[in-house]
């Protein structure tokens, strides 16, 4: 067992974990933060994307011990006092989700994209989100939602 100290969505957790425990299992099974789903377990689908110190990572391919001393942000940590972030709002307004399973990962990956490319072209959005799979929307509205959000001020 290895001792870790991780700040997740603003709260600090101290835990002893097996060195091989995956970050996604730590978040879901240990902390009960089930807002981040698991799609494939193999880093194909991007559903489990979270931010580790401000960079998007697929949490099924990161060990919990790698997050020691770091700050993790999940989709559950975005809205404050019931107020959605720009991406959450534009995903809703643009009908950029149907079943919603990929949405947490899409939004977290899109945040990372917009930090690197604050004003992306549609091609850059598609390229930037290529690691995230959606089975419902056909991506058109996801791209529109990200472009809409890029025109607003996005808080990192």
């Amino acid at each position: 067992m290895t001792h870790i100290s991780v700040k997740v969505d603003g709260a600090t957790y101290e835990d002893d974990v097996e060195p091989r425990l995956l970050l996604i299992h730590y978040l879901r099974d240990r902390l009960g933060l089930t807002g981040t789903p698991i799609g494939c377990d193999t880093s194909n689908c991007g559903t489990c994307t979270v931010e580790l110190d401000g960079t998007a990572v697929k949490s099924c391919t990161v060990l919990a011990v790698q997050a020691d001393g770091s700050e993790v942000t999940t989709v559950q940590g975005l809205a404050h006092d019931g107020e959605w972030t720009a991406l959450q709002r534009t995903f809703h307004e643009r009908h950029a989700l149907q079943c919603g399973y990929c949405t947490p990962g899409m939004i977290m990956a899109a945040r990372d994209l917009l930090r690197e490319h604050p004003h992306p072209t549609p091609d850059e959005v598609r390229h930037g989100l290529e690691g995230n799979i959606c089975r419902c929307t056909g991506y058109q509205n996801i791209v529109r939602a990200v472009l809409d959000a890029s025109e607003e001020e996005v808080t990192a």
Binding site: G35, C45, V75, W84, F91, C99, G100
Partner: protein, 226 residues
Amino acid sequence: MSETVEREVGRARYRKEDAHLITGQTNWTDNISVTGLLHIAILRSPMAHARIDRVDVSAALERPGVIAAFSGRDVAQEMGSLPCAWPVAEDTVVPDHPPVAVDEVRYAGDPVAVVVARDRYTAADALEAIEVDYTPLPAALDIEGALTDGAPLVHSDKGTERLHVAVRGRAPALRPRGRPRQPYGGVHDRHPADPGDPGAGAPGPRPGDGGGRGGGARLARGYPAG
């Protein structure tokens, strides 16, 4: 004085169900945990085609935290063969389809044995303790090759690789004139499972169902459960 009623047809509507989906508050099937929930791990064939000479799960059973371990034969004795729910034509050939391979593996990834354990890591570890002896068999790697005479058969007891003859498209009268029917010439890729599009289920009674009744399951197909 007249009151104007706004037209409903053609009017854009925002979805009502987005609030929990975009804030991570949905109850997905995978979130459901019941007391005593067990996890399985599946040992899969590393070969495209092989005879299974022996499966021994006894060492896996000795691992702490392992509740049960099954070979394909164990599972078949309990469950038999999975039925074909939709034989699409009268001449459809329906081979046996045991849920876990019994005598032969027919693709890389074919399930060979199953471990049930207290948690998913213990289950996955215990797969290492399962012993399987294979005798490799020749495999056909594309559709065309599989249909040539003398090609290795997926189900040798059926004597053919042709499952049925499909008539695609509408009735011949509706096919554009002069356009002959084309034989199927598709290429099949190494098809992975479709992440994000699973069927899922959680066994056990729903909370509030009156606990003592026992059976039941919550099922979903990529949709939230509740």
